[in-house]
Structures are given as C-alpha cells and as structure tokens.
C-alpha cells in the first residue's frame, strides 16, 4: 500500500446550475416520449400483423395456432430487442432514468419475454405437427433437420431458457457473478441464432418491404447501440486516457481510496455523484467489473474511488500495485446536480454511501448555508473521508452533522439520542430547509427507505428526493 499523504485540494464548484420545477417537467416529458415510442413499436408490429389479415382465418385449430405463433413471434422479438437495448448502457436512456432504473426494467422484462417466445415455439410446433400428421417429437426433429434455419432458432430458444433460469433470484444467489455473467452473455448468441429463421421462414417479413424495413432497422439500431456503447466507446475512452493506479491510501479502519491518473482525464466526462464500472487489469480481476462511485469531483489530476473493504474483491484492493492499469466503463447514474431543482440542498450519507455525497458536496454550486450534510456513521473511527467533509464544510460554509452511534430504535435511521424525539423532528432541527430542498441520499437500501419515509412526513416532494441503488 502506498501511504503517500495527499494534500486535499478542492476542485472549484460548478458555477451555474439550472433550477426550478420546469426541469423536472421536461424530464418527465422526455421519459414519456421514450416510453411511448417503445409501446408504439409493439403496437406497430401487432397492427401490421392484423392489417395483414392475421385474424381473418380463424376457422380451424391450425389457423388459430398459426396466428398465435406469428403474433407472439412479432411481439416477443420486438420486446426482446427493447430488452437488449436496456442493457446496452446507452447514455440517452441512462440520463433519463439512471442506470439502476434501466437495469430494473431489464430484469422485469426477462421472464415475460421468455413466456411469449415459448408460446411462439409451442404454437408453431403443434401447428406443423397437425399439418404434417406427425407426433410433436417427430415434428421437432423434422423441423430441426429439414427446415432452413430452424435448427439455429431452436438452439437460440434453448439458450434463452438457460439465460433466464440462471437469472431468477434463487439461481442467481448460488452462482458467482462471473459465472452468471458468462452465461448471461449467451443471450446475444441466442438472439443471433434466432434472427435467420425470422427472415427465411417467417410469414411476416419475407416479401413485405415495409416490414422488412422496420425489422432490419430495429435490429441494426439495437446492434449498433450495443456495439458502440457496450464495447467500442469504453475501449476508445480507456485506450486514450490510459488510466493507471497512482496511489492507494487507507482512509479509515476499513476503507481505502484508489487514485487513478492518466492523460486528459476531462475526456472521461463524468459528473460528481456518478459511478464507473471498474476493471482492474490484472490477471485475477480483469474479467470482473465492479461499480464504484467517484469520491472526489472530476478534475484534471486524478479520478478517485473510496472503497470499503468488504467483499473478496475489495479486500484484494488493499494490495493493489501502483501502476496497475484500470479500465473504466461509464460514467453512469443520475445521482448528480443535473437533477437538482431547488436552491437548498440536503445531502444525507451513511457508511459506504459517503463517496458520492462527498463528491457532490465538492462540486455543487452553492452559497454559504445552501447545503446541509448529514453523515451517519457507526463511530468516528469508521467515518471515512470525515476530515474532507469537515474541510469542505468549513471552506464552503456548509452545515455538517456527523451522526455517530447505534440507532435509537429499529425504525430509526438516526443514532439514539436523549431527547427521544421522532426522526422527522430531529431532521428538521438539523436541516430546517429540508422540505424545500433537494435531498440526495446514499446508503444501504433499507436505511435509504427509512430516510425517504421521514422525508415524506416532513413534506419534501418526491421529485426532490434523489437516491440511487447500485444495480448491475
């Protein structure tokens, strides 16, 4: 470990910030537009199917099965492409929803899509079995062997089952992240394997110029987004900047800071409060990206991450060698000043949540008195970056409340106190402007929920509450 002491040099704060509720409205409007486009894309494929007479022939079982098979294929594929776009980490989705919300939406869509595709598989299999007068097994073999591209589509379907099954919570807990991730990458193979049969055997694309145009452009759009934002853009940025570990510093009994330096750090383009996926490029860790928030406002000297030594990975970081290359993917997240709408700001951090709050405090545009910081810790020795919080508060004229000690009762997010007054009373005492301020909360999920509940009681509007969970 490199213990070279760092002179704390504060990065000057942002000089301007746009405030006002109009910003929030504009955000909502943009979200509505994106969601409408997604919804209408599904409506469009279904409508094209109906227009094509998809419902016209319902006279016998095979016709009905055929219609089900076609409709589920169209809707399922469309959703699958949206689903893929949601993990492409495209900045225009991330900026609107935040990486966490996008990932949650991706998780929610997984199972329904599998059911829809399974319906397509079964309906077409049964339909063809009836038409050919074969048993289901014989028909499956026949389709697999005889019909062009059906073998790869069948394999794609099997892969998709594997991908979804390994992602349900019970299975996910038993797998290491790395194992799960490698299996999950099969999803791309699954989609690619299923593409050909859609164009060669499908009834809804071949010989229909409009439909062909729609599907080809949708596939290309998603593929290009994935390729660029997931693969090429991070590669280009990292090769250009060439980040290396420059210092590793112990901050408290169980946290360390890693300083990275490189050429032209401004090119990374992050904002305070955002996080990166960190890949330590050594033998053991290059394939395991981990999400960490910047713990200092972006500047031209270094990128800093402050990390609690908790998991296998973070314990290893203590022994990280100076000069090790580091790959960053990102920046991600909307836990930034972009979301601020009010003049007053209340920053609330607990334990591991301190780094992004520390970075936000450094970079937010504020007059003395505008910002109140509540920092919840177990005890003062554990309070990582505490000196920096103090220096920031002094220098910029912020209120800082360090809240140490075990909590008062099971529901409370504050330490025990003599007054025994409810959380909301104590919150207002510490941060009198809390109901008319933007509140940024970062800490463990359950604790964050509890803070939000108190904020609700003191009357802070939901649109002024900003919290982000790590999800990847």
């Amino acid at each position: 470990m490199n213990q070279e002491p760092q002179q704390l040099t504060l990065t000057p704060p942002n000089q301007r910030v746009r405030l006002g509720t109009k910003k929030h409205l504009e955000l909502k409007r943009s979200q509505d537009i994106i969601e409408s486009v997604a919804w209408f894309s599904v409506v469009l494929v279904a409508a094209m199917f109906f227009l094509d007479g998809g419902l016209a022939q319902f006279s016998n079982l095979t016709d009905i099965l055929g219609s089900i098979s076609r409709l589920t294929a169209l809707v399922g594929t469309n959703l699958l492409l949206i689903h893929t776009l949601l993990v492409a980490r495209v900045p225009w989705l991330d900026a609107l929803y935040g990486h966490d919300k996008v990932t949650i939406a991706h998780k929610k869509l997984g199972k329904p899509i599998l059911y829809i595709i399974a319906a397509h598989f079964l309906a077409s299999l049964i339909q063809f079995a009836i038409l050919d007068g074969k048993s289901l097994v014989d028909e499956l073999v026949y389709l697999f062997v005889e019909i062009p591209d059906m073998w790869s589509a069948t394999i794609g379907f099997a892969l998709m089952i594997v991908v979804v099954v390994t992602s349900i919570n019970a299975a996910r807990r038993k797998l290491s992240y790395e194992a799960w991730h490698i299996i999950h990458l099969l999803a791309y193979a699954s989609i690619l394997a299923a593409v050909p049969h859609q164009f060669t055997s499908g009834s809804d694309i071949a010989g229909k110029p409009l439909q062909t145009l729609y599907w080809v452009s949708l596939y290309l759009f998603v593929a290009l987004n994935v390729l660029w934002y997931r693969v090429l853009a991070p590669l280009v940025a990292n090769l250009g900047v060439g980040l290396k570990v420059s210092h590793v510093v112990r901050e408290s009994s169980d946290t360390i800071s890693i300083y990275l330096s490189g050429r032209g750090l401004e090119r990374l383009g992050g904002q305070a409060g955002q996080f990166y996926m960190l890949r330590i490029m050594n033998k053991a860790n290059w394939a395991k990206p981990h999400p960490f928030s910047m713990s200092a406002a972006p500047n031209s000297r270094y990128v800093r991450f402050t990390i609690g030594a908790r998991g296998d990975f973070t314990n290893d970081l203590v022994n990280l060698k100076v000069g090790t290359r580091v790959f960053l993917e990102g920046p991600y997240g909307v836990f930034t000043e972009d979301r601020r709408t009010q003049e007053k700001v209340t920053l609330i951090a607990a334990g591991v949540g301190a780094p992004p709050i520390r970075a936000l405090a450094e970079s937010m545009a504020a007059k003395p008195g505008d910002i109140t910081i509540l920092y919840r810790v177990r005890d003062y020795e554990d309070a990582t970056l505490l000196n920096e919080f103090r220096e920031l508060a002094n220098e910029r004229g912020f209120q800082l409340h360090v809240l140490a000690g075990p909590r008062g009762n099971a529901q409370s997010w504050l330490p025990a106190s003599e007054s025994n007054s409810p959380d909301q009373t104590r919150l207002i005492e510490m941060a009198p402007f809390v109901s008319e301020s933007d509140v940024y909360i970062c800490g463990p999920a359950a604790w964050t929920k509890s803070v939000e509940k108190t904020l609700h009681r003191v009357g802070t509007p939901a649109r002024q509450i900003h919290a982000e969970e790590f999800a990847w």
């Binding site: 016209a56 016709d63 009834s203």
Partner: protein
Amino acid sequence: MRRSSKTFVGLAGLGILVAAARAGVPIPDAAASVTEPVTNVDGGPTATATPTPTATATAAPKPGTKPKPTNKPSSTKPSATPTPTPKPTPTPPPATSAAVTKTSAAINYEFGTIQIQVTKEAGNITAVSYLKQSYTRVPNGTMAYLVNASIQANGSNFTKVSRATVTTNAYKQALEDALAKF
C-alpha cells in the same frame, strides 16, 4: 410514465390495434357477394389459350378461334369468409347454367410446376383439378387446401399456407391465369 400520458398512449395503442384488426378482417357484406348475371356473348366457351395437350374442356371447344369474351363475367370478388351469404335470387342467368372449364398455363416455380383446370358454373368456381403438380416439402394437405380455399373464396383471395408460401403463390398465379380466360 405519468398517468395521463399512460392513459392516452394506452388508448391510442388499443385504437390502432382495433382499427388494424378491423381493416385486416374483411367484414362480410351481403351486397358485395351478389354476382352479376353472366352473359356470354358468343354463346360458347372459347378455346384455352395454352396449347397444352391436356387442355380438355368439358364443353366442346372450338379450336382455332380465340375471340375474347367482350363481356367478362365481372363478378365482384366475394369476401373470403366461407359463410354463404343469402343471395337475393338474381334474375336467373341465361347462359350460365352450363359448367365451363378452363386450363391455366403451366406455372414453373422454385419447387416445380403447377397447372390446374378450373370449372365455373353460374359465375362460381365449382371444381379445380390439378393437371400438373410437383412440389417439395409442403405440409400435408396443402394442395387439397388450396383447391378448397379457392372454391370457397371463389377466386384467389384466400390466406396462404404457412410454410408453403411459394407453392401457394404459384397456385394463385395458375388460378388467376385460368380465371382470366373465362
């Protein structure tokens, strides 16, 4: 999404779907299925245009002459719905009671050749038979389905057989070729 936008977008989407579904399914229209009485100007049926040796028409053909019927039986294509709509009995067509058979050209396509014979009576297709049919890998019953479908639809306006798109199209081409000769 905000609730108001959700409602709006949801309703608009449903509206589009319903409109598309209605446009896609032809609604049976009693008036449309009334066939005009066919008047055959030159009385007899004309010889088939294709010089295929198998061109056997049930009605006596007049070899050599090829006068195009000036008044084609412009039977408006009835909708594809198989339910027979009650027809307001039209004035009995004078010369249509006799069944007339025409032969299509032999349609060569990707998987073989199709040539059919179509019999019409009173403006309606009553029978179709294959003179040539060679095809590969179409679902069982495809060829029979095509015949039944064209009789029911009284034309080529019926849905194709899944996995037999090319064969269906070739059949329709043959059918239209034969129908054009009536």
